[in-house]
């Protein structure tokens, strides 16, 4: 019969899988719940804010009033050059004519095009690491990465949902009667 001494590898696997699943769900909640009160969550698609923000991170931004903007904050703005793709860079300073100079942490120089105050959509408050990587893989057409991620998730769910109760090998053969 399985006892506490022989069961530990199985127990450890199930416990680890459950903890990881809970971690994933917790991260997902951090990404989704802020949307309930009007905050936004974006997937980081390029590396201009490395090393603080990596490709595949999710970043939650909250709306901000112009007066509360301060240099050093990471802001999400509408990029006039690519209106379909918001830009997230760090605020460097305000120009005398009331526009904003931004810079990607990984860039050697500040962005050459100043951003209008009206284009500011919010200021970044939460960073959820790596959770958006499947989105990046899908957008960059890396199906293998997607399949691997999905397979990993299935394994976690199967192992995590299996019972922690002791296994009773006897049941499978003692009940046979002739």
């Amino acid at each position: 019969m399985e006892d506490i001494h022989t069961a530990w590898p199985r127990v450890l696997a199930v416990v680890t899988a459950r903890a990881l699943l809970a971690l994933l769900i917790g991260l997902l909640l951090w990404a989704l719940v802020p949307a309930l009160f009007g905050w936004r969550t974006n997937v980081v698609m390029s590396g201009s804010m490395r090393p603080h923000i990596q490709v595949g991170d999710l970043v939650v931004t909250r709306p901000v009033s112009v007066d509360d903007l301060a240099p050093g904050q990471v802001v999400l703005v509408t990029d006039r050059l690519h209106p379909d793709r918001p830009l997230m860079h760090r605020l460097v300073r305000e120009t005398p004519d009331g526009r904003l100079i931004l810079r990607g942490d990984a860039n050697k120089t500040a962005d050459s095009d100043p951003v209008g105050i009206r284009d500011v959509r919010g200021v970044a408050v939460l960073r959820i690491p790596a959770l958006g990587l499947p989105v990046v893989a899908a957008q960059q057409h890396h199906p293998t990465d997607l399949v691997l991620a999905l397979a990993g998730l299935v394994v976690l769910v199967v192992v995590g949902c299996s019972s922690l109760r002791p296994v009773h090998p006897r049941r499978y053969w003692t009940s046979v009667r002739t």
Binding site: A22, H52, G72, N107, R165
Partner: protein, 228 residues
């Protein structure tokens, strides 16, 4: 903790086993019962998610100064040139009709598809000299910084700019207003390394007014690459 199910009794040793071992297993069974362990794992995972998000957010967003840059890595766009920090032109004693040419090679080594544009930075002129300097920028292949020997213009869209230095610097001062040589001449990368050579030719207008005498003009030619 009370016995909750017959399952726990299964963990007890068989009759006749060492009483010390039996005691030990009984304790382990009580404190490590399946429900406690399963719930503890889930709570630990949720707490870890909170800790992770807090820690990562704190390190990314509460810094009041950004890092010093130069942390370029893959998965981005990157641009370099071959001037080693030198200037393209340092011309003095110009007179109407004076002319000169210089070349520079620009290389895009990013891994993302990008669009590269040329514009002017740190523009300054005195006595309107820049308005009397004609500038032609041609793109092609071959040659590089220091010599235009072997420069071959592109067969289509070779002319990037033709006008006065003042016109270049005032009309094209940011990436947004930068020059994207139209049609076949536009420099779009697919994420692979690609190079272009740019030939800059200046000519001081023969009709330059005498008021430009003693004037100065300076501009930085800047290429910028942005992910498309």
């Amino acid at each position: 903790m009370p016995e909750r199910s017959s399952r726990q009794q299964d963990l007890r040793p068989a009759p006749g086993a060492d009483p010390a071992v039996a005691d030990h297993d009984g304790l382990v069974a009580r404190w490590l019962n399946p429900r406690t362990v399963g719930v503890a794992a889930i709570i630990a995972g949720l707490l870890a998610s909170a800790g992770l998000v807090w820690h990562e957010s704190y390190s990314a967003f509460s810094a009041t100064t950004s890092n010093s840059g130069n942390s370029w890595t893959g998965g981005t766009v990157q641009l370099s040139d071959d001037d080693s920090g030198g200037a393209l032109f340092n011309a003095s004693g110009l007179a109407p009709g004076s002319t000169g040419s210089q070349c520079i090679s620009v290389t895009s080594t990013g891994t993302l598809p990008a669009l590269i544009k040329l514009y002017g930075t740190s523009y300054a002129t005195t006595r309107s000299l820049a308005a009397a300097l004609n500038l032609t920028v041609t793109q092609g292949t071959g040659a590089g910084y220091g010599s235009c020997t072997g420069f071959t213009p592109l067969t289509a869209g070779a002319t990037v700019f033709s006008g006065t230095l003042a016109g270049f610097a005032t009309a094209h001062s940011t990436y947004g207003s930068g020059i994207l040589a139209g049609g076949a001449g536009a420099w779009k990368t697919t994420g692979a390394t690609s190079s272009r050579t740019y030939r800059f030719t200046y000519t001081m207008s023969p009709a330059a007014p005498t008021s430009t005498m003693g004037g100065t003009a300076a501009v930085g030619f800047t290429w910028e690459s942005q992910n498309t």
